[in-house]
Symmetry: D2
């Protein structure tokens, strides 16, 4: 029973933290969806519970807690049936937040009962190891949604002319800036040669992190720190958003279509008058932020254009992982901002998706997206890894995405 | 003081009723916006209060109750400043419903104090008669929003796969059917000649209802009753939605673009098996409705196509008003369903919009819309009039819009 | 035979003139389509021929000249079968212009043979009177397309940075300005009372021009002349395109969506420096035009906003027809610019569409369009009438549409 | 002078061949643009000439042949100025095809004069080696447009209900099928290890083909032949287009949005009844094609889904190049169909774009596109190379794109 008890205890802790993230939200904040890419907070609460209901409890022979939720809260798993359209999630005023919280409690109660009940369930379609693996996946899945819940609520609040604060005191997305002084960035050089990257050992990892494999690497240098907001202000001041030669063709089209002038959430007017700071919308409302803080909320297009302007380039994910794996080398590897790489999200050599619906978790998104590495200041503790591969379309700005420079040596 | 006391008492009664309409709604139901044409219930509560704050209280010299609401809850009055985009109303999770209700109470309290305070306010830009007129307009404005609140919440709930009921017992949009038996429709004939229509007497009317004016009318016949759902089922069964010759060109394009097969909210699959009823989504949830009930939620295109199929036509608004003004003649004139006319919404001869921002109330919409006459079963008591001109674009289905046939004699 | 010979002679004359309009066009000019509302010149040549083939020759028992053209060159007649999508007309590089011209000649030859052959055709589904009526309709139809051919080629050429001239010497759309001096506009007053409008006598008219019917009219005044470009420059200079209070709500949205600043084809930059002229793209290329010339290429929204700015309004079509029917009264009634009225395009009392496919000619467009009266300087001679009802959506600018003011007396 | 004479001779030969490709086109075929991705044939003729004028002749001190063409026929080079919008190329009925051909001749004449004139031009901004390099690039550029001219005209003709043939006798896109018998596909195995790919030697290559660099490769197998149309029919028959589990998420959305059921140009209805053939639109019109012919005109999504269905995968571009470089190994490497790889189009390690405007040729497209290798049956002779990297967005179907399977060993 020990394996069950341990993983279930960890799952329930994580799930408690998810609910905790909504403590400052009113019922109305829970339901709204500010764009198709984002989901309502309530939907995150429900979907992460459905994940356990559908992929752990139901295969063990338990009836669905709420059968109608199989349709409402399936995100994208074609293998387990049809689903409510993503762009209409904000219209689900029912079930209410209270009903969703009750659903969470019901799922939690069944999970808590698992050590006792599962062994006796005759109709399970899962082995014990499979149950543990599904619980572990559900835990990491829920952690991913914790971060998404924050980035989505930030986007929602940013659309409100009142600019409400999610948490004015904790200010979770300002944590990235807390400890970062004015220390200059240095170029760290790495030899070329045959290296290994990817997840290969024990411990949890998503399927897309493996298999561990050899990669030949040319010599390269990588910046010790992330690009700061002050650095990025210099790019803007130098006409960065007006010079097509700095941009990918698709990026320049994006600049023009969106009349982009700065990272998402920057208050351009106010920032223009600040030498050592910029003003931005944060989870604590509109704030003045020191210029030495890492730049965040840039698209891949912006990251790439900045790097070109700086006579550098973005690192590949291999370079990033090799550099980051050398202890005491890179700063701001984790816990500040996700870092765009120049690597398109693709299968590693020998990649095999998980069996069944879990195979849809990562593999089916391997086109038209770019890999980000590291983690952000709102990534849950214990979630990120050296081999972790985050991925988003090149136009995405609403994640806490920044960049670190690299160059050929 | 009597004029003040009377009108303010009436205003406060109407405003109380508005809040009453939201009794069954949760906070989440209050914020969602299901399409750009519809508004959140909370927005209706706030906007109708802002109307009094901005057009009665502020001109009397009072400071805005909440200055930031001048931007958030202005609907379309360019004369009084910029406004939040209509299609983003559903993202306003703040102010919360509780804050909006507090705003309502603050406005109500100031309105209740008016008889005492207004006379002493030295800075009023309004005469006493103007204040009374603005209050009267605000009252009727609020009644319009009462009906819109219901049609908008109906549309929102219809988008939810759970098909929640707004009010399963009162079933307000089923009232249209309550008293209507199977009595057949008759053709009522009217002589031609010079007639007068439009508002000309005392009592409140919107500016677009006047001036009263002469119209020359050819002889015509008009149906004694509204087209029923059973009638409309026969049109569908006869291939109504598959025969382009029955439709206006723009209507046929609309049928194809929307794959339209029935009025909005009809459950086509279920209805196909019902001889004397149809199944539709209502404010009481999905319901079986008797076939003798008036058809509702048809667009102008559908109303027009039905009429052509029936070898008839829609009445002009002049014909409608002349027929409806003859006592004991038409049935179902008011209180069942709004009735599309073949008249485009336009200025009457000699029309002058009200002065100032109130001039934007009706006049600036006089293009690309069609007039509906009568009233529906959810129109507030006392709101409709013989001269009342409702108007919507020809594609609108989400109002309680039905039709009455006419023909040349 | 005389009736046949006469009408066929007239038809062939008109058809010859159509081909003449394309004399200055190269093959490439013939095929391009600059927007879905416009059609290629070649398509006009083919469609007008198809009209005779399909509605005169085929009903007389003749086989189609080119069976595949029944699909390609049907415009919108659902009654006679499916058709090529309107927005793809510009992709029909085949049949070539030469093939289309050969098609025209084949149709013309059959038409020329009609007097001899028709009487002997045993399989005709048309009476002789019906043939004559169809020929007459085809003639007027072809004249309509003559004007459309010019407005469509003008739009196409305006999209070319080289600004090519259709006809630099004849300059057909400048004819409107030729004879118009600086004579001031006067207000002409008309008594109210019962009047008759619409087509009622003999001679050809479209079905939508009848029946002749009584209308009661309030007293009104109407401007003796059209609004000039100089008048319109004053509207622009007074902030006309920046003041929402002058516009219909839908019109203001149109201004913002299109960043409208002037009538279509005006060169705003150049015009801003010209006191007594404006620079515009014309069928003779970019030209400086005197300010006393009528303003053209305005949408209904612009016409309506101008009238409001001028403390006036647009006339109704009844007012226009009553005023225009009084001899020696209005100037610039015909032959200068089409004149927007404030009347939505609708059926006259007692209107009956023609039988069969011809019933689709006018009746199915009676929604969401506004009536224009008079005629333009490129309307073919003999085509316009006092009762003629042209109609376009309120956003249309590419026709030679101007305006004449009216006001209540 | 020899280097000049040689390259100019080759350039003029290639340019002559370009004009030859339009021999069967009428003037109208030359101007139409069937979608924003495609360009008119005339535009290809003009743009390839502009390339020499702008990048060879003007830098040598010669005035532009036609200054206004710098705007009209610049494709995407921001460094040399603004340009006509891509999606409006089909509206350029002027300059006419004849004028464009005259432009070509003028450019050719200046090129032919280069050996004599260039040395004496005092104002050249280019060294002799740079001129030769620019001529060489212009030659390969022109060859690329030769293939695009054919794929674009094929797309245009496919939109015409008459399905015209570009060349019924030569049938250039059927050449792929000519020599291919029913020989079965075999799996060819390759050891893993450190390999080198990319252009490194002498001879022309595009900048994106280098630098030559080491890649570590796991063992893999690759199919000896391309996937045939018959293979692909089996995929369709097995529900390939109805099974989401076979598709990338973005691919499945594409299937639904486009109601995709088969490769572009397939006549699904006819093909469904053919066991050993399929019917498709080709440059020779609609043709029945043997099932052993390579499948073509599939998007990356389709290629990827097919591979998943076949329990295989697409090769990486490294695998493709390593396999193709081993002589007598792969069949159908060149001259049949471009082959989608699973590699996103990205910079090779150490990649440096060419200096100046030529740097925009390839580098700025390195996002959101996938690499295709090999060449098609309409690729000009001598154009393809082992290291050649073609690239298109994953949704592109109008190129002659097929696939070859790979798998892990």
């Amino acid at each position: 029973m020990d394996d069950y008890a341990t993983i279930i205890g960890r799952v329930l802790d994580v799930r408690k933290a998810t609910v905790g993230l909504t403590a400052s939200l009113g019922a109305e904040d829970m339901v709204a969806q500010s764009m198709p890419d984002a989901s309502p907070a309530k939907w995150h609460l429900a979907h992460t519970s459905w994940f356990f209901d559908r992929f752990v409890l139901q295969p063990l022979g338990l009836p669905p807690v709420r059968p109608e939720y199989d349709y409402l809260f399936n995100s994208y798993y074609d293998a387990v049936g049809p689903r409510h359209p993503r762009s209409s999630r904000g219209l689900l005023t029912r079930p209410t937040s209270d009903e969703v919280l009750a659903y969470r409690r019901a799922v939690d109660a069944r999970l808590a009962d698992l050590p006792g009940s599962a062994s006796s369930a005759g109709s399970s379609r899962l082995s014990r190891a499979e149950v543990v693996a599904a619980l572990e996946l559900g835990l990491h899945h829920e952690q991913q949604h914790q971060e998404l819940l924050l980035t989505d609520i930030k986007h929602l609040f940013s659309q409100n002319p009142l600019l409400p604060a999610y948490d004015a005191s904790a200010a979770p997305d300002l944590a990235a800036y807390a400890s970062t002084g004015a220390k200059a960035s240095a170029w760290l050089s790495f030899d070329g040669g045959l290296r290994e990257i990817g997840h290969g050992g024990s411990g949890f990892a998503f399927d897309n992190e493996g298999p561990r494999h050899k990669v030949y690497l040319a010599p390269f240098s990588i910046a010790s720190r992330l690009v700061t907001s002050g650095d990025y202000q210099a790019f803007i001041a130098d006409g960065g958003y007006r010079r097509p030669e700095l941009w990918l063709s698709e990026g320049w089209a994006w600049v023009q279509a969106h009349a982009a002038r700065a990272p998402l959430y920057w208050d351009v007017e106010k920032t223009a008058h600040q030498a050592r700071a910029f003003t931005a919308f944060t989870l604590a409302g509109a704030r003045e932020v020191p210029a030495h803080a890492p730049v965040m909320h840039v698209s891949y297009y912006e990251a790439d254009a900045y790097a070109r302007w700086a006579n550098a380039r973005l690192p590949t994910e291999t370079e990033w992982e090799v550099a980051a794996s050398k202890s005491n080398c890179l700063e701001q590897t984790f816990g500040h901002a996700w870092q765009w790489t120049q690597s398109a999200y693709a299968a590693y050599p020998g990649f095999r998706p998980l069996a069944g619906a879990f195979g849809e978790y990562n593999g089916k998104f391997m086109v038209s997206q770019m890999v980000l590495r590291g983690s952000s200041c709102v990534t849950p503790a214990g979630h990120a890894r050296l081999t972790y591969r985050n991925f988003f379309p090149p136009s995405a700005q609403w994640q806490l995405s920044g960049l670190r420079l690299a160059r050929d040596t």
